[in-house]
Symmetry: C2
Subunit: 198 residues, 2 copies
């Protein structure tokens, strides 16, 4: 498990790092989010604990929202927990709308923060699992659409392939499952990909 902690206050950074050392295998800290894209590109970050204010002129959290959106733009994005000293309700709501898993205010409680990070990662895993289930299901939908324009010969060849694969190459079993003669199965498999008879 790898955690990225981004906060412009060095004392906070040290303190947070201490909290999470032992909880995460790797804890990486950074004083500003400029290097975030590079750090995420490796794809091995499981969670990001992100402060909302970096630009001392802007304490409205828009920096944090910007980087949150940036992090969450990837489908393999890590869990993101936002942390801020100047948090108000509208900011928290906006952050949640943009996909943050949690939003906490300083000062924080160590155990509570650990708990929130764990839950955030779990939630993020769930979201990803759901998303991949969706894309997988969509593949099936696309296949069904393609089937509509297939010739009977192609459908047969396709199904034969599937069943043979399912039977681990056992042609006798596959023929039995398909309800056809073993010889016929041989013939069908000997055919070149697209043979238009006559």
């Amino acid at each position: 498990m790898k955690l990225l902690i981004i906060d412009d206050n060095e004392a906070v950074l040290r303190s947070l790092k201490l909290v999470f050392t032992g909880v995460f295998d790797h804890v990486v800290t950074a004083k500003n989010p400029q290097l975030l894209p590079a750090m995420l590109s490796a794809g091995d970050v499981d969670a990001v604990l992100l402060d909302m204010n970096f630009n001392t002129c802007r304490l409205d959290g828009s920096d944090g929202l910007f980087w949150l959106t940036r992090i969450k733009s990837s489908p393999s994005a890590p869990a993101v927990v936002l942390i801020t000293a100047f948090g108000d309700v509208p900011l928290a709501v906006e952050a949640m709308k943009r996909g943050a898993e949690d939003f906490v205010t300083k000062p924080w409680d160590n155990d509570d923060l650990i708990d929130k990070l764990n839950r955030a990662m779990e939630k993020c895993r769930m979201k990803k699992a759901e998303q991949s289930a969706v894309s997988e299901a969509n593949l099936y939908r696309e296949r069904a659409d393609e089937r509509k324009n297939m010739t009977l010969e192609e459908i047969k060849a396709d199904h034969i392939n599937n069943v043979v694969k399912e039977c681990g190459g056992n042609l006798t079993l596959a023929a039995s499952r398909l309800g056809i003669n073993r010889q016929t199965l041989y013939n069908q498999m000997k055919k070149p990909p697209h043979t238009h008879m006559k």
Copy 2:
């Protein structure tokens, strides 16, 4: 468009109703959420504007969270926007986690609130559309699983049925699409549902 407004303060209720009359076709108000399940059962509510505190002894919003969860337990749940005078960040975050589309604090701005309701409904529509797309795609996945255990004869019959349906019953066209002789298509369709040859 139908809006449900739940708030224990009658003055607030009247005021909110005024705001949304003209924006929604129907605006129904209630002083407490006890009747919510009954009001939602008709299924014609598009949005709920829900106050977080009804029990005067408990101002932590737990009542609101309870009812939020209750409303969102149905797959056809309406959009929910929470409104509270005692809102803090943790409560707002928890509400968003539980599926609220938005969370606003009193006092409110009329135009802003209208805007938030509209966006909430749009968001809710998007969620539902996504959800129904998922279930539809899952149907296709199930069909593909069933196909695995089908006989070649059954697969052929199934595909023939689909293509014929696709061609609106035009057998000549269907035969052409299937890449088979018209006569053959007649023969296949004349077969009783399950004929195991010989």
